[in-house]
Symmetry: C2
Subunit: 182 residues, 2 copies
DNA sequence: GCGAGACTGGACCAATCGGTCTAATCCTGT
DNA sequence: ACAGGATTAGACCGATTGGTCCAGTCTCGC
């Protein structure tokens, strides 16, 4: 196989992340994931003994890592917090247009799981990770503790809300317009 | 029948709205709704010929009407836009504590439907209705057109994002803290 | 009181759900 | 070359899914 040596486990995670993001946890059957990942059922339950829920947690973690990279890429070259935040919004808008990102992938994947508490806790952990990443950059760029935290959480809220409205309107402009309110 | 004169159709809509709000469209089976509404299957398909999707649309509309009433109640006695918006956030926080409102009921109900486009269009219509309601109050309270629209959409984004973080953290404080950013 | 439409009750159905199981195959260290 | 764990392959399972269907019951206008 000359082109795609990606191991089965990774294929499963990516396919699951994609599907869960657009259709939600219960909207996707394991058969869908298997078909998208070109993997047989046996592989899924080998790599993820707890099955679908296990896979969803891994998919959410993977999606979160992507988001953390996006945050880092946005703030790394920035000279002010506002500049970094603006870049992030524009990158998200672009991603929205290209991949049809519908809403927050974490919300779609975890906010309707079977065992509610484990999923909720994972979502909280992931969201706090995003906010912490932004907060680090805010402090690096000179903001004091309290201000940095407030601005990091504010940006999180704006993006989450913007994602929702952008999906309903099918327009990434919503995300770009967020920059006026940072 | 001395105690519960609420017609079956209304019971179905309310039960569906409650369940969809907390577990999402695909997370709820029609059997769940039927059990919660104490209604037999025949009634559902009599009142909603298209079945589950039909019911979900009606449930979303009902949930939206509740939200519109909440907006009206918050702004009616307000003397400034900020005062009304603040009241709205506090009312939502209270509701979050009492009923365990998890996230936006419209998002949970409509953002993963079977026929995507019809559901998305309905969500857009409902969201625009919320924003229009806030916008009316904003203009009534003296804001000019452009300013009123910007603030109405900003409030929408804040609440949507706040809902998400509040759910992940299981804390209504997030919603109350929004008032500092209106 | 009677006939017709509105509504209820629930048996029933094919399809799909997530998950289990075992045989075959691949891969790697020796 | 070979042993043995890691991985794949897919047949198979009981439970549940959304949906259909029709016999019964209620509630009107007449």
């Amino acid at each position: 196989m000359p082109d795609a040596p990606m191991p089965t486990k990774d294929r499963l995670i990516r396919a699951a992340a994609d599907l869960f993001r657009t259709r939600g946890y219960h909207g996707v059957g394991v058969a869908d994931v298997l078909a998208a990942a070109h993997a047989p059922k046996g592989s899924l339950y080998h790599h993820f003994p707890d099955g679908k829920s296990d896979l969803a947690l891994a998919a959410a973690t993977w999606a979160s890592d992507e988001m953390l990279r996006l945050i880092a890429a946005s703030f790394d070259g920035a000279e002010t917090f506002e500049a970094g935040a603006t870049t992030l919004c524009y990158k998200l808008a672009k991603l929205f247009d290209i991949t049809g990102w519908d809403t927050c992938p974490i919300a779609m994947t975890l906010f309707e799981g079977p065992d509610n508490e484990a999923f909720r806790a994972h979502a909280e952990h992931i969201y706090d990770g995003w906010i912490a990443e932004v907060l680090d950059h805010a402090e690096r760029l000179g903001l004091n503790d309290a201000d940095a935290r407030a601005k990091a959480e504010h940006l999180f809220v704006l993006i989450q809300g913007g994602w929702m409205l952008a999906r309903a309107r099918r327009s990434s402009d919503v995300l770009r317009n967020l920059t006026a309110r940072i």
